[in-house]
Structure formats: C-alpha cells, structure tokens
C-alpha cells in the first residue's frame, strides 16, 4: 500500500511537470524588440526685455530690474523736471529674448499727485531718428488715439507679433515712444509734486502658422 501511494504521488508529480512543459511549449513564439532611444521634446522660452534709447542715438539698452529709469531727474537719469507746457518723449523698445514668438501689452501703474496735471501719448513704431513732432498737439495726432490724461491704471494692447530671433521674419524688437506732457494750466499747487509710473510689459505667446500640425 505504501509503495502504491508513492507511485501515485510520483505519477501526479510527473503529470504536473508534463502540463508545465506543454504550457511552456504553447507560449513560445519568435519575437523581436527594438528601442528608439533618447527621444526629447522641449518647450521654448518666452522672455521679454524692455530697452531704452536714453541718448537718442539709436543705441538701446535694457532698463529692467532697476538698471535705469524712463523719466527721472535723479542723478544718472535723463533729467526730466517737468514744468507746465513741457513735453518729454522717451524712445523705448520691447525685445524678444526668448525662443517663441510673442505679443505684448504695456501697463502703466501711476501714483502721485502730479498725475492729474499730466497727459500721455504712446506712439508705435518710432525711433528717435524717425520721429518728428513740433508740439504736443502733433505728438497726440501721431499716437493714433493712444493718448489721454494720466490716471491710475493705463493699458495699451498691442497685437503686433515680435518674432523670436531664430525666425526669418526676425527683428526681435518692437519700437515705440512714450510722451508725457504737463498741462499748461497746471497751477502753483503742483510745484514740487511728483508722479511715479511703473511700466510693465506683459508678454504672451503667439500660436501662429509655425504650428507644426
């Protein structure tokens, strides 16, 4: 009886081995595998710079991060101390320093009592050597309506695309000028008053025909 039991267990074991072998055989196929290694997808960068032609000689330099001021009577500034009827013009540019084409808006954040005595005008596509206006009225005329009284928040929307440097259409720069004018009727009470204007450039991507669809 003991021997029969042993034989039965051994037979069972052999059957299991047989089944495993059959299964293994059934699942054997010819295969091949290949790997395409090192694929990379990267995003571009969007980076704008604000530049100024301080000396009006065509040389633009960056003025962001406190490197320079647009209107300033302080040492090293461009020496504008306003008086009634005076107009000051600065020549600026937004530069595309990134890899993506972009559009931008300009926001002016204004604080200070002198603001109520001031007017502004923004003129697109001008440089110092290409802009000529005899007086404030002519400056306003050339601004195509981008003019008004200086107030708390002023925004200019620009639909123009600044192409990234790597594209064929490159200039990488968008030129404009900001003019400030102190109203002729500003009274004595405005003496020694000041206005602080923070200029912010908001750049955003442009999905255009270069989309590789």
């Amino acid at each position: 009886m003991k021997e029969t039991k042993k034989a039965l267990i051994f037979s069972g074991f052999l059957l299991v081995i047989d089944l495993l072998l059959i299964t293994g055989t059934t699942f054997a196929w010819f295969t091949d595998s290949i790997v395409n290694q090192g694929n990379t997808i990267v995003t571009g960068t969007l980076m704008a710079d604000l530049m100024m032609d301080k000396d009006e000689n065509g040389n633009y330099s960056s003025i962001i991060d406190g490197r320079d001021f647009i209107f300033s009577n302080a040492e090293g500034g461009n020496g504008y101390a306003f008086e009634p009827g005076q107009t000051a013009i600065v020549y600026l540019a937004v530069k595309n320093n990134g890899q993506l084409n972009m559009k931008y808006n300009i926001d002016m954040d204004v604080t200070g009592e002198l603001a109520e005595a001031m007017e502004y005008a923004l003129i697109d596509d001008v440089k110092a050597d290409t802009f000529d206006a005899k007086d404030w009225e002519e400056v306003k005329e050339k601004s195509n309506g981008q003019t008004g009284n200086v107030k708390e928040n002023i925004s200019f929307f620009n639909d123009k695309i600044i192409y990234a440097i790597s594209t064929p259409e490159e200039s990488g720069m968008s030129y404009f000028a900001i003019a400030m004018h102190m109203k002729k009727g500003a009274g004595e009470e405005m003496q020694e008053k000041s206005v602080t204007i923070n200029l912010e450039i908001h750049a955003t991507q442009v999905i255009d025909e270069t989309n590789n669809e």
Binding site: F27, W29, F30, T31, D32, S33, I34, V35, N36, Q37, G38, N39, T40, I41, V42, T43, G44, T45, L46, Q99, L100, Q205, I207, N211, N212, E213
Partner: protein, 181 residues
Amino acid sequence: MSSSTKKKVIKNALGITALIIMLAITTFALLLSFVGVDNNVFEMGTVKIELNNGELIFDGSDCNLEPNKTIVKDFTVSNTGTANVYYRLYLENVEGKLQNSLNFQIYEGEELLFDGIASELNQKNPCISHEILSCGETRRLKAVVCMDKLSDNRYQKGSLTFDMTVDAVQAKNNPDKAFEN
C-alpha cells in the same frame, strides 16, 4: 537417443537455419530498399523589426513647444524578418516635468491607436497593430504631440525624454496577438 528423436532434432536445426537465412536475406533486402537523401536543412523563420530605420524620432531640435502648440512626427515600423508579425509600441524611461502636460496621439494611417499622456503609453498599455505586418512591409505611423493649453510658466524650459520601443511577435499560430511579456 532414438532414431526418430535424432531426425526431429536435425529437422528443427534445419528449420532454424532456414529461418535465420531467410531473416538475414529479408534484413538485407530491407536495407537495400532504403534510399538516402542527404543534407536536408530546416531553416527557421526570423522575426525582425525595425523602427524608423534606426533614426531618432524626436531629437528635440525643432520643438520649442508652447501651450496649445502641436508637433507632428512621422516614423516607420518595418518588418525585416521572414515571418509575418504583429507589433506593439510603447514608451519607456519617460522622464521630465512635461509628463502630464503633453498629450500623445499615435496614428496608423487614419486609425487612432493611442490617445493619452506619455506615461500611459507603457508596456502594459501599448499600441497594438490590428493588421498583420507582412515580411518586407513598412508601415508609416504618426505621432501627434500637443501641449496642454492650460500649461503655465512652470513648464517653461521643461523637457520630456523617453525611449520608444517596438516589440514584434510572429502572427502564425498567434490569433490572440500574444506577446511574451
């Protein structure tokens, strides 16, 4: 020993001898009836696959992705073996912060094989060809990668790296398109 017994022994001996001779002749005749065909060769079929002729599909040089921008890359899968195959395609070693902001679509002709983020296109959830890729056939596929339009500045200067793997398995005796792993 009686005479009759002797006769019987002799008879039997003769009979045995005759049988041995007959057996020998038969065996000899049998041997002579064999015909030899030498140098029979059984060659095994091969399963061999090629992906985009070994060239990198996304080399990162012409992407500059931005939110809502799409890039499209064509690539090929070729059967360079001698057996018809099924193939499956998936991504491995997916790394980089763009993992969740890029959507992948894989097309075989007009048929969409996969639509999802890169990490979802893995060995457990691969694109599998529905049609047999015959030996010598090259099939053109298309990868469409779109950056989520809601991706913000966190994804600037980001990247995604991955390996694209294609496995092939014989089509014969494999109706379920079963791969080894």
